[in-house]
Symmetry: C2
Subunit: 325 residues, 2 copies
């Protein structure tokens, strides 16, 4: 869970979201309910619901329960991508627990993700606001495009930084951005405020993903819930690897390309990659880039007067930077 | 393609749909475009778009291009379920060609299906009609529930006829029903007409699926594009199997249960099942049941005055009954 201080302005709403998350699944198909509960219960920091609720509060949303319903949509869409991602990555673990794919197999995992998308669509329709639907629809298309881009370019060290950025903006930035935007929209915020929060969510998301990249090499397995160096093993080109390609010697570059071209790499080879990452300070360089995006995120908030919600959003930026999970 | 006579009243619109189907994919992510083109080009009778266009025409829809956009949604959603179904069934073939899952693998197949759902949502949002969105959203949820129900009850011969019916209504009936309903809605048809077409699509869909069940035992592989008896091999309990359970001897029932309980069954065992199906006239019994649903479908159309669109919908019912693919 996110530190309590951040959650304080929306603590009651988050409790309602938590209840609704389990309630909205329905009990018609036990298997789906079981899987969804498993995914929702196995950790998850409810970052997207929190962003939506704080953005709504920041813009003066009062009364009604649209914030709750849409926060559920944000988390369902996120959960759906996680379930489908684990099929894509053929992942054994997620947040330190066996993945849905591992327990139930790809067949059922496909359907569980589809169900969560479908329920999200139903909730969006019941909410009935086309501009909110648009925000989530656009995010879904871009998330999928980002995922495919990543699969398509796996192991490709010729990826440019812009191409890499496009992938992580799509994969992680767009849904956080949509959550913030939806919060502003339901509060009937002025266009400038909607744009500022849309931008805030996007930069926060990119920062978040870059921290993920850094953690893949810097974190301990028991904190991360997955093996260190996992991204590289899966052929994902992350920012620390980019840094080595740029900062490294010709020999480093050559060796990195050889390793990336392999079908699979073992522990000794992964240790080589880690050594290059350490020698070139690639984790620190990644965190330097993180700072740029998170500073931009904070800058988007200057147009809002001081409030508890604003202070929480600012703290959330710091929280994303300092996280070790 | 459906016989030309049926298509005649909407032949221009169908040509536009065909163009839009390929145009709307966009070219941002080549891999998705390739897969979607492959699925859309490899046969497919455009039944759902045709139903939507004919329903709209029957209710007097004129001008605008909402019919085209929503017909694309109906086909995209159908294509998305096909792609994900092939992962679920681990199918090698679809319509006689290698399945997407076979060519590109489950990872990319998951994403291609997700992309088509996401694009559908975007098109629905751009159309902006909440009642139409609702029809498709409800269909998506029920389709997923139906699929999960089927996976959950695979090989279970204790499934009741009502449970079996619920699965095929969800799997096949709801999207055809939504397509017909959407056509009526965009024509601003009176509630009675909307209800009649919703009902029409549902019964047509159930009839369609029951014909599928019959064809699994009756068709020739080269017409069907997949091996005969495939459903039973995959543990799917279809109507002909139900019939044998009801009409067969105790020995037949016992043997069928033994075979259904097996992890996998070979050609000799499949031949036993086919023999029982033939001996008890299970295909004819299934077609008898088909008649009931298709008669109900036709009965829903009585409230509409004669028109070319109405005659086409009636012919479509006969076409579904007589199909051998």
């Amino acid at each position: 869970m996110i530190v309590e201080k951040i959650l304080l302005p929306v603590i009651d709403e988050l409790a309602q979201v938590e209840e609704r998350l389990f309630h909205e699944i329905g009990g018609k198909v036990e298997l789906i309910a079981d899987i969804t509960r498993y995914v929702l219960k196995s950790g998850g920091k409810r970052i997207r619901p929190t962003l939506l609720l704080l953005s709504a509060k920041l813009c003066g949303y009062r009364g009604g329960s649209r914030n709750i319903a849409l926060a559920v949509v944000a988390e369902y869409m996120h959960a759906a991508t996680l379930i489908h991602d684990d099929i894509i990555d053929n992942a054994d673990k997620r947040r330190g627990l066996p993945s849905v794919n591992r327990i139930w197999g790809p067949q059922v995992s496909v359907l569980a993700g589809d169900f969560l998308y479908a329920r999200s669509l139903q909730i969006l329709v019941a909410d009935g606001d086309v501009s909110v639907m648009q925000a989530f629809a656009d995010a879904t298309v871009r998330m999928t495009e980002g995922e495919v881009g990543e699969v398509q370019r796996a192991g490709d060290l010729d990826l440019t930084y812009d191409e890499y950025l496009e992938i992580i903006v799509s994969k992680t930035g767009t849904l956080m951005s949509a959550a913030c935007k939806a919060g502003a929209l339901i509060a009937a915020a002025p266009a400038e405020a909607v744009a500022a929060l849309t931008e805030f969510g996007l930069n926060l998301g990119v920062g978040f993903q870059l921290v993920d990249d850094a953690l893949d090499f810097a974190a301990k397995e028991d904190r991360l819930g997955k093996p260190v160096g996992n991204d590289f093993k899966e052929g994902k080109v992350t920012f620390p690897v980019f840094h080595v390609l740029r900062a490294g010697s010709d020999a480093d570059r050559k060796r990195l390309r050889e390793l990336a071209a392999k079908e699979s790499i073992g522990e000794a080879e992964l240790a080589e990659v880690k050594e290059m990452v350490e020698r070139h300070g690639a984790v620190a360089a990644t965190m330097e880039r993180v700072r740029t995006y998170l500073d931009q995120a904070k800058a988007s908030l200057v147009i809002f007067p001081d409030s508890a919600a604003k202070r929480s959003l600012v703290s959330m930026v710091d929280f994303v930077r300092d996280r070790d999970w």
